[in-house]
């Protein structure tokens, strides 16, 4: 076995092995559990660094295994997956630290961390998937491994939320399965390759490809919470804060958006999708989701409910990026895969910290939190302003590319849409910040019993992601920033597309 093939395998194994051991360990072995989980997470980050350097040097890391004749399980590290995988590995490490602090004293930690690790493995698989079949397998595994995390609390509300989640996700998975089968029957086995592979079939199978696309988007749209398939997301808010953070930032919702990106860019190809007339409806769907999701967030008083609706809108920006069809907008969509992750995870860390430390779960109860927990509030301020799109923070870089890309391609409505989204986002973010910093609490908060305002395990990840949010925007022009990487990817896609065209018309 070569080193190139080992890397995808190791990326999976670094979470799968801990998952197995943690699930088998008895509940009271907290130290062993935490050390093992952290070890897995840290090795994964190290492996990602190797992968980044390797791909930058032009290496391909691929593992292929024939499950059936004509049906391969393919795990491959390439450009777009790297964005998703690096984000996942990094945020997973931070969230592991956070979860250890958040769940201290909880009854079912073995179960929690076991499935926690299992869902990382699933996410890694989704990210590495080199064809639709592999994607499907891990997409389903993701559903199953995150369900126990969603219902972790085990009360009636949690079970109801979990039921909604499972119903939606299984329905979405089935749709996806149908689409994969249909595509396989019509055009044979296809891989996910930069620039798309379906250009040759566009003429012969136009109707089929349109149908398959609709099913694919519907199936992934459930996880990506595209309207009207978003119903499960606000109800899955019953999950513990670190789980919500992951669901929203890297795992479930992001996996759906990532799937849509890969379908458009790596399966169909931007040009082919455009020719088939698929991007217009997708853009419309994303635009509606963006506006309605943001608007619904304005009324919600529950902090996590507000963040949930916000996710619906924010993730739609990723879909919008690919749906606009231009290279600049694509850069915006790709970079938002990362930016949305670090911004939203910061806000969920904040929600979890104030809940754990002060028992606050509603926006109206945040008064005086800025004085009591200035660091957490500061992190939330950075992330909140970034989501509005205030320069020089990460969210601005996204919005700027989407607006500029839209305008360049003649979609004059795109800048206007993003302006409107700025207003709506400000309307649900700024009250959080205003209440936290400026409102006077009904009674003074009890001073922290510790040296810091909250447990360091809760604060350190929050500060780290807030710093990333600032850095990703401020240093967007620097090499290895998310933006530089997204630009690299977009260029590769463009080259791949031209290559596909050349190959398609000999």
């Amino acid at each position: 076995m070569t080193g190139e093939a080992a890397l995808p395998l190791l990326l999976l194994a670094t979470s799968l092995l801990p998952a197995v051991v943690v699930l088998a360990l008895p509940e009271h072995r907290a130290l062993a559990r935490n050390v093992l989980t952290l070890f897995g997470a840290i090795s994964k980050v190290a492996l990602m660094a190797v992968a980044l350097l390797g791909v930058a040097q032009g290496l391909t890391f691929e593992l292929r295994y024939a499950v059936l004749p004509d049906l391969d399980l393919v795990l491959r590290v390439e450009e777009i997956p790297l964005l998703f995988l690096t984000l996942s590995a990094l945020l997973w490490l931070l969230t592991t630290v956070y979860a250890i602090g958040y769940l201290r004293g909880d009854a079912h930690q073995a179960r929690f961390f076991g499935f926690f690790n299992l869902s990382v493995a699933a996410t890694m698989g989704v990210g590495l998937a080199g064809n639709l079949f592999t994607f499907l397998v891990f997409f389903e595994l993701l559903t199953l491994s995150t369900y126990p995390l969603v219902v972790h609390k085990g009360d009636t509300k949690a079970l109801a939320g979990g039921r909604a989640y499972l119903a939606y996700a299984v329905a979405g998975g089935s749709t996806l399965f149908l689409a994969a089968v249909w595509l396989h029957v019509s055009v044979g086995p296809v891989e996910l390759v930069s620039g798309g592979v379906l250009a040759d079939h566009a003429d012969a199978h136009a109707a089929t490809l349109r149908g398959v696309f609709a099913l694919l988007v519907a199936g992934m749209g459930v996880k990506a919470a595209l309207m009207p398939l978003h119903g499960w997301l606000p109800r899955a808010m019953v999950a513990p804060a670190p789980v919500s953070a992951l669901l929203h930032a890297v795992a479930v919702v992001k996996a759906g958006a990532y799937g849509i990106v890969r379908v458009v860019v790596d399966l169909y190809g931007l040009d082919t999708a455009e020719d088939l007339g698929l991007l217009g409806p997708l853009a419309a769907l994303a635009a509606i989701t963006l506006l309605v999701g943001s608007a619904r967030a304005i009324g919600a008083d529950g902090l996590k409910a507000r963040l949930a609706y916000s996710t619906i809108g924010q993730v739609a920006l990723v879909t919008l990026g690919v749906a606009l069809g231009g290279v600049v907008a694509l850069v915006g969509g790709l970079v938002h895969l990362v930016h949305q992750g670090i911004m939203k995870v910061t806000l969920f860390y904040f929600a979890g910290s104030v809940e754990q430390e002060l028992g606050v779960s509603r926006v109206s109860e945040l008064a005086g939190v800025g004085r009591r927990m200035p660091v957490a509030m500061g992190g939330a301020t950075v992330a909140g302003l970034a989501m509005i799109g205030v320069p020089p923070l990460a969210g601005f870089v996204t919005k700027w590319h989407l607006a500029l890309g839209g305008a360049q391609d003649g979609a004059w409505w795109a800048p206007v849409l993003l302006g409107a989204s700025t207003l709506l986002t400000a309307a649900y973010v700024l009250p959080i910040l205003h209440t936290g910093w400026f409102a006077t609490p009904a009674q003074a908060w009890q001073a922290s019993a510790r040296r810091w305002e909250a447990a360091p395990t809760l604060l350190v990840p929050l500060v780290a992601t807030a710093a990333l949010t600032l850095g990703a925007g401020l240093l967007a022009g620097a090499p290895f920033s998310p933006l530089s990487w997204a630009e690299l990817v977009a260029e590769a896609v463009l080259v791949g597309e031209q290559g596909a065209e050349v190959g398609g018309r000999p």
């Binding site: 093939a5 799968l16 092995l17 998952a19 197995v20 699930l23 088998a24 593992l63 295994y65 079912h108 179960r111 076991g114 499935f115 299992l118 491994s145 079970l159 039921r163 909604a164 499972l166 119903a167 939606y168 299984v170 329905a171 009207p228 119903g231 606000p234 109800r235 009324g299 919600a300 409910a305 109206s364 302003l385 799109g389 205030v390 320069p391 020089p392 919005k399 700027w400 607006a403 500029l404 839209g406 305008a407 360049q408 004059w412 800048p415 993003l418 302006g419 409107a420 700025t422 207003l423 400000a426 700024l430 205003h434 400026f438 925007g473 401020l474 240093l475 967007a476 022009g477 933006l483």
Partner: protein
Amino acid sequence: MTAPDLAGVSATVLSAAPLSAAVIVAVALPLAGAVVAVAPRVAARLAGWLWVAPLPALALAIPQATGAVDLPWLLLETRLANDDLARPLLAMTAVVWVAAGLAAPGLVADVGRPRFVVAFLAALAGNLTVLLAADLVTFYAGFAVLTYAGYALVAQERTATAWHAARAYLAFAVLGEALLLAGLALAAAQADSLALADVAAGLGASPHPAAGLLLAGFGVKAGLLGLHSWLPLAHPAAPVPASAVLSGCLIKAGVVGWVRLLPLGEIAMPVLGGIAMTLGLLGVFVAAVLGALQHEPKTMLAYSSVSQIGLVALAVGAGAAVPEAAVVATGTAALFVVVHGFAKATLFLGTGVAASEGRRRPGRVLLAGQAVAALVLAGAPLGGGMLVKEGLKEATRTLGPPLGTELEQLVVPGTGAATALLLGRVVLLLAAKQRTAGAGAGGGSAAPGAGGASARVWSAWGLVLAGAVAAPWLLLPRTTAPAPTDVLAFGAWVEALWPLAIGLGTLAVVRWPARAVVPAGDLLVPLGAAARRAGAARHGPGAVHSVRAPRLAAMSRHAGRTVTHAVDVGEALLGAWRRTGLVAAVLLLTLLAALVAARL
């Protein structure tokens, strides 16, 4: 000098290292201060030294300091440049901020708190970035930093009034930011470049809706009539030194945006120019009347700013409507920014001195100085306001008869009457307060040095007053305003004095109501009441935390009974999930092992 040169980066770029360093330090020093002042101890130490932060920027005002510096790793390839348009603005901005920094310890209650020091220094950094930015993204970033730091300055006092004002400020500011995001993206796409000069040129290629978005977006910040309602609330609510920089510098960022990005002189935009001129002229007179009906000096001064911005909107509108007027319009706008910045900062700082000053002698000096600053703005002979009016006349003359003539001969001079009326009332009101000698009677802030403002406040006030009197003459040769000989002619003096006579005459004749007739914030008050009613209806009892069950979920519950049942069974097994998970994980691991085996 042509308009594109003014609006763009100077053609001769000095790549000298000292200049690059100076440009970077000018922005980085206040920014670094803002970052370290997050620590309360550091903030307390920095509070007395805030006036040092703008000094590097002041050094950039010298003629030799033109040039650009590239920072490709920052934002989307940041480019900072100092040009002939930026230099006089930098001079005014730096001096006004120095004065505000000097006055702060005497006039801000909690000056040593991070929330003031950070907001002050961040706003300064944003302001300087707006002036020095040569690319769209850096410009917008500076603009946003200025906007949000400005919010913290307005909310500083933490009273109910301050919060109401801060909310109004923020609502308008975010609206402006949204308009700008759309406008800037459309403009950048049209120009296919991020350089400010290219964007203005690109918009000039054909009529484009982006220009309208930019006019409105920057109009919010400048306080253009109709988009101004935040201003009479926010400026009085802030502590005095903050009001001085808000009125003196912050609203000018909007003017800088207009001048830098609108394609003045590139293309005739009669509709856009007409709208700007109409709103500008209406603003001059409407805001003056609204302001004169107030009873709080700082509110009146804020209305005066709205009124004065009308003048610059008139200039910009003329430049937009008639390309030939653009050069004069741009020069006049720059001159206006300098004159109004100094004079309005003087008037605001003066109210701070007045509020905490009870004794007789300094009172007279103060009133005399305030009167001088008011006269400068009203366009009295030898003052900077007169130069601005001359420039305006020249710009409007280009519009041609009959409108241009009317504007030039009647309306533009007439604006002096409106200014004289409003500012005359401010000075009279101050004089009345001086007589009653109530400490803290006037200003919105409770001044700590109630036994007489410190020498620092006096020197700050003197500094900007000197700027208001002298700066226009120092800067005159550098602008496109009229020659000094025109200004010294007898006819010009008569023309400058009759509006003053009308304004002051009206002031003397009319019996002014003792209480404010129009509430501060005018348009916003009925709107705000409606919003509060709507909010009360929405946040009725029990309606607050409602996440309605999505319809689709309800449908699926009814339709898919089998699925639900299966899920129920699954949930019943929750206790066993750990075991189930173990099995799943082991299976997967086996699969992986198979993979490895297949490869080996």
